[in-house]
Symmetry: C2
Subunit: 453 residues, 2 copies
Amino acid sequence: LADLLPAMDGDTKTMTFLQEVVDILLAYIVESFDRETKVVDFHYPNELLQMNNWELQDEPATLDDILISCRATLKYAIKTAHPRYFNQLSTGLDMVGLAADWLTSTANTNMFTYEVAPVFVLLEYVTLKKMREIIGWSDGRGDGIFSPGGAISNMYAMLLARFKMFPEVKEKGMSSVPRLAAFTSEHSHFSIKKGAAALGIGTESVICIKADESGKLIPADLERRILEGFVPFFVSATAGTTVYGAFDPLIAISDICKKYNVWMHVDGAWGGSLLMSRRHRWKLDGVERANSVTWNPHKMMSVPLQCSALLVREEGLMQNCNQMHACYLFQQDKHYDLSYDTGDKALQCGRHVDIFKLWLMWRAKGTIGFEAQIDKCLELSEYLYNKIKDREGYEMVAPVIKARMMEYGTTMVSYQPQGDKVNFFRMVISNPAATFEDIDFLIEEIERLGQDL
Amino acid sequence: LADLLPAMDGDTKTMTFLQEVVDILLAYIVESFDRETKVVDFHYPNELLQMNNWELQDEPATLDDILISCRATLKYAIKTAHPRYFNQLSTGLDMVGLAADWLTSTANTNMFTYEVAPVFVLLEYVTLKKMREIIGWSDGRGDGIFSPGGAISNMYAMLLARFKMFPEVKEKGMSSVPRLAAFTSEHSHFSIKKGAAALGIGTESVICIKADESGKLIPADLERRILEGFVPFFVSATAGTTVYGAFDPLIAISDICKKYNVWMHVDGAWGGSLLMSRRHRWKLDGVERANSVTWNPHKMMSVPLQCSALLVREEGLMQNCNQMHACYLFQQDKHYDLSYDTGDKALQCGRHVDIFKLWLMWRAKGTIGFEAQIDKCLELSEYLYNKIKDREGYEMVAPVIKARMMEYGTTMVSYQPQGDKVNFFRMVISNPAATFEDIDFLIEEIERLGQDL
């Protein structure tokens, strides 16, 4: 029983099984890109639980059963590669990125030391340096790490800012530190507050700064709030807000941060990728003055999930902030250059290899390929904006259209309220497979689904 | 240029490319399981940087170049599936787990809502429930989440313990809380201190409890230290310590936790998998009294990296502790049962799909297959212990043998000091491909490499 593929040595049965799975996946990919296919075959949770036997058993299944499970899983999966899937900030499926992720799974290793991931550690080194050059830090100097998502990257930034100002917090905790204040726009991502709650700073110490009509932080309000009394230690400017896609004015914010000696973080989880575009990177002018930058290639650059980078201007700070010198892992008497053991920079011990997908895609497209991909997404957004700006009926948008959209399965778009605005569709264009025709389809489909309301 | 596979629709070129990558991967797998192959083709970082062109370019590469990059990456990768790779707690490569990970990459979605990951969210629900049943919580009730590694799972546990005792800490931070104390054995994993540093508790508030000669926490010392004055809020017992593999006495520890009303966490990142074995699970007797348990199927159960679960006895606590009600993601007016939107239980926003590998392997092996695999690893350990206990020369172990081992590439074992003991090899057996003969080989090889020292 334990012999059911616990390991193998190139036997035909195992190889045939893997190839059969690949055939299922290739067919799924072809289907996902076909506009005639539904984006989702939607079922409610209780229905879906009963539509298949998902329970875990004591007894082993046959390999044929396993293939059936794979097919069933894909049947009810959301086709995130579909050209009409616009639901999240991460959409689309890049074939080189996918191939790289398959290789990563096959290599099955861990980023914490050079010893067990020599190539991947070097590729992370090369790629982070390139990203820092693009940010504009001289010679690409600085530090960084790939972390499991933008929320964790933002939390790392806050952790570093606190440690930079009060290094004793590592040993003594918050009882050694005065009452702190962090600042971010009212439109910023909720991870800033989550981070503050986790780090023992508390959500009440996150001061929400007013945004203007277009969703940009108002610098004068930032300065006013900084002067209110608590010790300001962290400003998180957003480059590409979650709902409006607004870019905070980084130069004005950096002037304020410099004046009051506050750590400036740029949450570019969504908008950081615009740095790859010569046409659009002006929206992040001033980013080179930041102390840290979150930039998620798994969003607008369509790298498979997850791929999030935190870039840090000061070298050595991450290591000092997080290291615990575990002597079973980061032995100081190793026979190679220890600066390649990255594990003590992170809170994670084991760390998934997220770099290879990005690196291989970058090789395949070149910097100019990524630039073209991003420019195309922004062109589609402009097209959508122009098409609906004078169209009637776009105030009235209700969740019921969303429910119908899921049930019909023809397309997927997210929705939410913001401030005093009621529920509206948040149209995200980061899917490299989308075309002008898909945008036209979306508009028609929303109107069709809302027709009899 | 942007057309270099930015998306596809089943065209032959793309399909051929993917199949070519798969062929490279299948050949690598066959090679990895071959004992004649080296575990590692080792090169020092500066050498490896120069052995290939790893730099990122402005211009795109051809698909042939991409295949060459894939081959080069694998050439210098560590063969973690090799039957003689014993270097980490996670070793081996399971073919069903690998197939599941390839499917996960192809589905390319996110665990935060049922909306975008209906099947995976249900499979996580089913699997976590099963794991809680195995722990011994009645009807599998409770909560849990898969997180990016044991260090993060442990940090979540500490975060929950603090929130349970002082819910106001979420808003008001540590300034609202008395001086806390957490307790863990001197042999415990470094992530407990990392977590305390990050959460603003401070490493000095982590009290290290003495362990006996076999590496088990001494309960009497725990009680003595709890009485020292600060507010005790968290005890982390270890089930399977990192270096010795020792199991702390959970029943005695749970009695103390109950007496002083302290959250009991069990860090079973390594040893939690013994719960699957009827023969060995007695080592975790008392685990059902814990408030939370970390259990990493990516270690002794050989699920591909990463797959770490945090199980929590109290329902609803994770949600209350971490939720921020992001209204663009966790809309309260959705048309399905919102309890399946798991995102607000976590600090992460986006969360990688780590569940499918475990679920599919569980289906393939059945509970009894996992049990057999774990029993076999423990049998091999016993065999190794018996073989070397009376053998001469095993005190003298130096890093230089490790360096030679890497350069020869024949096998890989980790080493470290512990307390007053100098460097020694830490032999980890979790590789399902290893046999009695591989253990024999290892012993001979260590002696051969150390011969002329």
